[in-house]
């Protein structure tokens, strides 16, 4: 102010604005909800057309889905008449009483009813172990690993299969079914495939030609054939290869097939992680005089596994989805129990199949999506560690 008043040239002018005026607000159409709409949905004629197209598609599909799953769904009833259009004289959506009635079958299969608490305990133990491992700030995560990879498998076998000495009658695996089998198959695959995969990955990078050859052959062979042929091999050929008295039961055969299949994929994932570790790490460890097992255990593997956690989880998602294939070799997994229940004449309606599949889809979606979110969160966490 004072400087301007003393300046003659300025004083001669008719008008000089001496204070900065505030910027005018942007047009209403460029900010807020309208602006967002314009930027994100209606920026070009092509985008407007796309938006309308997708919106129409969603307006058509989503209410249909909601109608089927909730609005038109039947919530109570005792048999198929509750879910039949000709009986109820209205449009019928999902037939949920069918699911209630069969819920126990979907979860336990034909596991004897008085022994089903053992399955519940198994689920609880598993949930506890998984929570311990996944919660990164949990206390004593080393103990958690011991629990998950040693205590849990042994405990589960005793609990589920039974040990007469402990007062637990033996339940033959033929009676196992439903979610129990799906979870057991997935858990066995998860627990077994990682160690075998690590050994195979190290074998493939070994300097010993014979070790490298066998590892590579196994990995490439298994990855080159469909899982279903591996399962056929496990269920039809495996019994031929072992002496008659050791013939493994059906579920065990499927487990072996699934675990070997997952191991080959895991090996490639781990190998990717090993390749990401600079050679200097190994050389540095060598210079310190560490032996091969020490170098791997203390230097290389911890780093390699850490960077591959997202990929390992993705392999687990694949494994979890792949467990459904065992229904083709006659194991009663969750999907198979749905397949069996949906053709039951007691609940024979046009909507029964779709209801069953909707339930199964939600089950797998929740598990797989949950795992993939975890993998993505881990990825973000690892990336932030690298940023410094």
């Amino acid at each position: 102010m004072t400087m301007a008043e003393g300046d003659l040239a300025v004083a001669d002018l008719a008008f000089v604005r001496r204070a900065q005026i505030d910027a005018r607000p942007p047009p209403k159409t460029m900010t807020g909800a309208l602006g967002w709409l314009r930027d994100n949905l209606l920026s070009t004629p092509f985008n407007i057309a796309l938006t309308i197209l997708i919106a129409l598609l969603l307006v058509w599909a989503l209410p249909e889905l909601l109608k089927f799953l909730v609005l038109d769904a039947v919530w109570s009833g005792t048999d198929r008449d509750a879910c039949r259009e000709v009986v109820q004289h209205r449009e019928i959506g999902a037939c949920w009483p069918f699911v209630y009635e069969r819920a126990a079958y979907f979860v336990y299969g034909s596991y004897p009813i008085p022994e089903r608490w053992r399955v519940d305990v198994f689920f609880a133990m598993l949930t506890f172990g998984i929570a311990w491992l996944l919660w990164l700030n949990a206390p004593r995560r080393d103990l958690g690993a011991v629990y998950f990879f040693i205590v849990l498998p042994v405990g589960s076998i005793i609990l589920l299969h039974g040990l007469p000495a402990f007062g637990l009658p033996v339940v033959d695996t033929v009676l196992w079914g439903g979610v129990l089998v799906t979870i057991v198959l997935a858990a066995v695959g998860i627990v077994v495939s990682l160690p075998i995969g690590i050994v195979l990955a190290l074998g493939r990078r070994s300097r010993m030609p014979a070790v490298r050859l066998f590892s590579t052959l196994f990995i490439e062979f298994v990855r080159g054939v469909p899982l279903i042929t591996v399962l056929f091999m496990a269920s039809v050929m495996l019994p031929l290869f072992v002496p008659q008295q050791f013939e493994p039961d059906k579920l065990l055969r499927a487990m072996i097939g699934l675990a070997l299949f997952a191991s080959a994929y895991m090996a490639e994932v781990v190998r990717g992680g090993l390749q990401a570790i600079p050679h200097g790490q190994d050389e540095g460890a060598m210079a310190l005089g560490l032996t091969y097992p020490q170098r791997m255990r203390l230097i290389i593997l911890p780093q390699a596994l850490k960077v591959t956690i997202p990929n390992i989880v993705n392999t687990y998602i694949g494994l979890f989805k792949d467990t459904t294939l065992v229904l083709i070799v006659g194991i009663f997994d969750f999907l198979r129990t749905i397949e069996v229940a949906r053709i039951d004449p007691k609940w024979a309606t046009p909507v029964t199949s779709t209801t069953g599949y909707a339930l199964a889809a939600m089950f797998y979606l929740v598990f797989c999506y949950g795992m993939s979110r975890y993998a993505r969160a881990m990825e973000a966490r690892l990336a932030s560690g690298d940023k410094r």
Binding site: N40, N47, R223, I228, T229, F232, P243, L335
Partner: protein, 397 residues
């Protein structure tokens, strides 16, 4: 260097069992012996089992009459006259058919969804993301069972078929389409088509060379389209369109004529394509994101419009990142086509590892042949994609 001289002057001071080379040698011998023992034991047991079960071994069954019917055959086949070997080829061709068409559809859908996920249009990006998350996280087998049992098998019966003009019917027996019937002279159209493709390829090379020499660009796309589509059409017009269609007609209880696409095939093709497309979309998205933003900006600053930028700058570089994982997805699709067995499409596994194995009981031979076939398909596919990849790969100076 120093290590070598030191070993020369003073021979190894360690005992032989501490020498890494001797150890490595010993480990490998132990491994070989173990593997040998396992293989030997398995063979002995298998021979013993097979002898006790009175199951023949060897490949003699290949020429035995099969005696079962197959619902979809691309080559002539009959239950009474054809052998197990013939059934094998029928199954293999069915596998290749569904996998081949599935690859094309999965690629098209996958590229569209992958690009849609990166769209600036919020709704499009979210819808594509929803597609990927839902399809990827539900087991393929469940999707196939759903399409087959809950959708296609729930379609109306023949008399209440959905119809579209031109003799197209959709009912619970599948999709009925008009059958093309080549008339005399159709061979010339095919020859014109082949010549058109050859001409288009030649023109592409010529145009490329000319552009490198003189900087002049030729309308490659339009000339190619004219050669590949226009030339056969012109030949067909001259010959009076030597292609007739056998249109299906609805009879009283049945639909007569036309070509019937089985519901099993439809369900498998649809399920495989949409499922694999979700994975292809992720591969495509990652590939496009891997091209640095500076590349696009540099292209714009050189005056290229967004179309040529995408075609000449972004896509060629993205393809380098896309091809290797895309190969894996293609292989997965081919291997996943074996899930056909769950819905009864007569592919290799259903016909050969299913029916033939059950009838002959020769598990070892049948499973071994099946695995060999898939291994061969996998190896050939990776070989082709690797060749393509080498063509696309960055040539460093």
């Amino acid at each position: 260097m120093s290590a070598e001289t030191s070993t020369e002057t003073s021979p190894a001071q360690v005992a032989f069992y501490n020498d890494p080379r001797m150890r490595g040698f010993a480990y490998q011998i132990i491994l070989c012996v173990l593997v040998g023992l396992v293989v030997y034991g398995a063979t002995v047991n298998a021979i013993d089992h097979l002898r006790r079960a009175h199951i023949a071994s060897g490949f003699g069954f290949w020429d035995t009459t099969a005696g079962f019917d197959i619902s979809q055959t691309l080559i002539s086949y009959s239950a009474q006259a054809s052998t197990y070997g013939r059934a094998f080829w029928v199954g293999l061709l069915n596998t290749l058919l569904v996998a081949g068409i599935g690859l094309v559809f999965a690629s098209i859908i996958g590229f569209i969804i992958g690009i849609a996920r990166l769209s600036g249009n919020w709704l499009v990006a979210k819808a594509a993301g929803g597609y990927v998350e839902i399809l990827r996280n539900i087991p393929l087998l469940l999707q196939l069972l759903f399409w087959y049992n809950a959708v296609l098998k729930a379609l109306p019966i023949v008399r209440e078929s959905y119809t579209a003009p031109g003799g197209i019917y959709l009912n619970n027996r599948g999709l009925i389409l008009p059958q093309p019937v080549p008339q005399p002279g159709f061979g010339w159209v095919m020859i014109a088509f082949a010549l058109g493709i050859a001409g288009a390829v030649a023109f592409h090379y010529w145009a490329g060379h000319r552009q490198m020499r003189t900087g002049k660009r030729a309308p490659v796309l339009w000339v190619s389209l004219a050669l590949v589509i226009g030339l056969p059409l012109a030949v067909a017009a001259v010959l009076g369109f030597p292609l007739a269609f056998d249109y299906a007609k609805a009879g009283r209880f049945n639909i007569l004529g036309g070509v019937n696409v089985q519901p099993e095939f439809l369900a498998l093709l649809f399920g495989l394509s949409t499922y694999t497309a979700a994975f292809v979309a992720e591969v495509v998205r990652a590939g496009i994101l891997a091209v640095a933003r500076g590349q696009t900006e540099a292209a714009y600053s050189l005056g290229l419009r967004s179309g040529p930028t995408l075609r000449l700058i972004v896509v060629p570089q993205a393809m380098r990142v896309i091809v290797p994982p895309l190969t894996n997805q293609y292989l997965n699709l081919i291997k996943n086509s074996s899930l056909a067995v769950a819905i009864g499409y007569p592919d290799l596994v259903q016909v050969f590892t299913g029916t033939v194995l059950n009838q002959t009981g020769q598990a070892v031979e049948v499973v071994a042949i099946t695995m060999l076939v898939y291994l061969t398909i996998s190896l050939v596919t990776s070989l082709v994609m690797n060749l393509y990849n080498r063509h696309m790969a960055l040539v460093e100076r």
